[in-house]
């Protein structure tokens, strides 16, 4: 029963976090969701049996089922690696930990602070002249970042929405971006 309640709570919290806009929160949601799945596995092995699962170490009826534990171990490793990858996706992209429109990614900020055009270029942020472009939303005013960026040219919102360019506005909802491509 306690496992069922724990699975329910974890899943509810995970679903709540999935609904958030920030990528990091979504990642945390997945951490909780995979815990829920692992607990389901434990329940599948019947938690009433808790003996050491070695042959000859006790009554067969008492011994725990080692198979679900092996499954969970595998699942944890996989979930962990994907979580790490998602965290990376949350920071190493063009703007942000995500869909919040005016945030700027840590990677870009670091590159801009160093005046490092190479790094910014790696993320597709440089113009042809080699300037770093900080992506901005249309409705954004008084954002400090363009001033701090050496030689930055903020793209025209209209012009930057043109497909095929390496810059794009982030204000449009994801849906529109998906459609635009």
């Amino acid at each position: 029963m306690s496992i069922a309640i724990a699975v329910g709570l974890l899943t509810a919290a995970a679903v709540y976090l999935f609904m958030q806009r920030g990528m990091v929160r979504i990642v945390l949601g997945f951490v909780l969701a995979s815990h829920a799945a692992n607990l389901v596995f434990f329940a599948a092995g019947n938690t009433a049996y808790r003996g050491v699962p070695y042959i000859g170490s006790g009554e067969l009826g008492e011994q725990a089922d080692p198979l679900p534990q092996a499954f969970v171990l595998t699942a944890i490793v996989i979930a962990f690696s994907i979580t790490m990858f998602m965290v990376t996706l949350a920071i190493t992209t063009t703007t942000d930990d995500d869909t919040e429109d005016v945030e700027v990614s840590p990677a870009l900020l670091l590159a801009a602070d160093r005046g490092d055009t190479n790094d910014a270029g790696f993320f597709g942020l440089t113009t042809e002249s080699g300037d770093i472009v900080v992506e901005r939303g249309e409705d954004e005013t008084g954002d400090p970042w363009p001033e701090k960026t050496p030689g930055a040219t903020a793209p025209e919102p209209g012009a930057s929405a043109e497909p095929g360019t390496s810059t794009k506005t982030e204000t449009s909802a994801e849906t529109q971006e998906g459609d635009a491509r």
């Binding site: 389901v40 596995f41 599948a44 595998t74 979930a79 994907i82 998602m86 994801e174």
Partner: protein
């Protein structure tokens, strides 16, 4: 041969993994990486052909990994279906890798290793006889895919990669829960031992339903298809072609396998599959109507085609399964060919938007013919494999008196043809936009020139084609010569288009194999007997 092959089955997973590691180690040796990758894929293809020959008479090859006894071991099992799918997938992987080499994407240090790990996962997922192992291999397949998508999508932003990873992780978590429930209710995860469990016990059927739902998300079946159109159009054409032929199709394979073994083709749930597949066919094709780029149209069609392929599950008759398996194999080839031929235009002219292209028939006649062949095959016109596939599917639905499904299939074919005509008129016919050449030059410089510009100390003439500037480059720059799609970019699409023509004219051959595969699905006792050794 049936004695030599089974012990070699785990090698189809092990060798690509090992060579992927080698590929990572050879960081400065690009040529060696190309050779390793192509060589491994070619070897995998040859191995798959041998498996197809060995399983052609309905034999099921089994290897208990580690020679453990049945019940303890994790078996590798190959029947006609897995062998056929593996064969076609290795062809696709070769074509996509050739395309990626032509676009120079494959120069990235991790490209080839990722593809090899991906293929290792595919081999494993197709061969394993254990449902938890299946989950592991699907993850092995997905992890490098995340890498490929993020790597190639970097120029377009990471939204595609984020959606892709999130949706797939959610589906994987659901799959894991489903497998846990199957284990809890049936007490085993061995597919052979699970045979018929879903038919006899409603609790196992429910657990199997969770597994099937999770796999359906990965197969992009309506109503859980939204992620596909949002992600596949947001990476490079080579990666789209590779994924289109592999990921959703492995999921479809799993659906067939699980319904055949766990549910033993239970007739009570067939109507569910028919309703879902009809919706998938219709919604996919209608979604394509509103799209404006070649790739997004093709991705929507993919969803619609997935509906056709899954009709076989809804019928579960010999005719239906044969037709569906034929359709699956035909579709993987044709779709990849379409992605690669339009992708060649996209990679050269910098856009896949129909409005911004035109007059390609005159400019690129070879691509036009290749596209035409694959598009007509997709729509189901003779003499290509699509005609045989669609004809057989519709015949199978009529044989079971599901007239409305047949009607949907016919109507959807017409819409498919219309969509293909939309691409045809928009991209290949009509007049060439004035800024086509200029746009192509800008695009080439942006995509490929930067690196060389940097290396060559801001060379005076920015490089235009991929690679160091040549005499041709400056001629094009000076406006003396038109931008053209290089043959190496068209070749993979031609290869696949030729295969669809071959399977259209020689449908007998593929149909025979598909029928053997269908018989195996229909009588899973052969599978069970082979695995249990009884």
């Amino acid at each position: 041969m049936t004695e030599i092959l089974p012990p070699l089955l785990p090698l189809a997973v092990g060798i690509p993994l090992l060579l992927a590691a080698l590929g990572v180690a050879l960081r400065k040796k690009r040529l060696a990486r190309h050779m390793i990758s192509l060589g491994t894929l070619a070897a995998l293809f040859v191995f798959a052909v041998l498996l197809v020959i060995a399983t052609g008479d309905g034999t099921v090859l089994v290897h208990q990994v580690g020679l453990w006894d049945y019940g303890v071991s994790i078996p590798f099992v190959v029947d006609a279906l897995s062998a056929l799918v593996l064969m076609i997938m290795s062809v696709l992987a070769i074509a996509s890798v050739l395309f990626a080499m032509a676009t120079h994407e494959a120069r990235a240090r991790f490209f080839h290793p990722f593809v090899l790990v991906l293929m290792a996962g595919v081999s494993g997922a197709l061969m394993t006889g254990d449902i938890f192992n299946l989950f592991v291999f699907i993850e092995v397949m997905l992890l490098p895919s995340y890498g490929l998508l993020a790597m190639m999508g970097a120029k377009l932003g990471a939204h595609g990669a984020r959606i892709y990873v999130s949706v797939n992780l959610l589906a994987s978590t659901l799959l894991l829960v489903g497998i846990a429930l199957v284990y809890a209710t049936a007490g085993t995860v061995n597919l052979a031992e699970l045979h018929g469990a879903g038919k006899d016990d409603p609790a196992v059927a429910l657990a199997g339903g969770v597994v099937l739902t999770a796999v359906a998300i990965k197969a992009a079946v309506v109503p859980v298809h939204g992620w596909l159109t949002r992600t596949y159009a947001m990476t490079s054409p080579a990666v789209t072609a590779l994924f289109s032929g592999i990921h959703t199709k492995v999921a479809i394979y799993v659906i067939y396998r699980i319904y055949s073994l766990l549910f033993d083709g239970d007739e009570r749930f067939l109507w569910v599959a028919l309703v879902i597949t009809s919706a998938t066919m219709l919604i996919g094709v209608l979604g394509a109507v509103g799209e404006k780029t070649t790739r997004s149209i093709l991705v929507f069609h993919m969803i619609s085609q997935i509906g056709y392929i899954l009709i076989g599950v809804g019928l579960f008759t010999l005719l239906g399964l044969t037709a569906a398996i034929f359709y699956l194999l035909h579709h993987m080839i044709v779709k990849a060919s379409l992605f690669l031929s339009t992708g060649a235009i996209e990679e050269t002219y910098g856009t896949g938007e129909i409005d911004k292209l035109g007059g390609m028939l005159k400019r690129e006649p070879l691509i036009a013919v290749t596209f035409m062949v694959a598009a007509l095959s997709l729509a189901g016109l003779p003499p290509f494999s699509g005609f045989v596939a669609k004809f057989a599917i519709i015949q199978a639905t009529l044989a079971e008196s599901h007239y409305w499904v047949a009607a949907v299939a016919v109507v959807v074919s017409i819409f498919t043809l219309l969509s293909m005509l939309k691409i045809w008129t928009g991209v290949f016919m009509g007049s060439e936009p004035d800024d086509l050449q200029e746009r192509a030059l800008t695009y080439q410089q942006r995509m490929h020139g930067k690196r060389y510009l940097r290396v060559q100390a801001q060379a005076e003439t920015p490089t235009l084609t991929i690679g160091p500037p040549t005499a041709t480059t400056s001629a094009v720059l000076a406006g003396k010569q038109a931008v053209k799609v290089p043959f190496k970019l068209i070749f993979p699409a031609i290869l696949l288009a030729a295969i669809t023509l071959f399977f259209g004219l020689g449908a007998e051959l593929l149909m025979g194999w598909s029928e053997t595969a269908a018989e195996n699905l229909l009588n899973p006792m052969d599978y069970v007997r082979a695995v249990s050794g009884a």
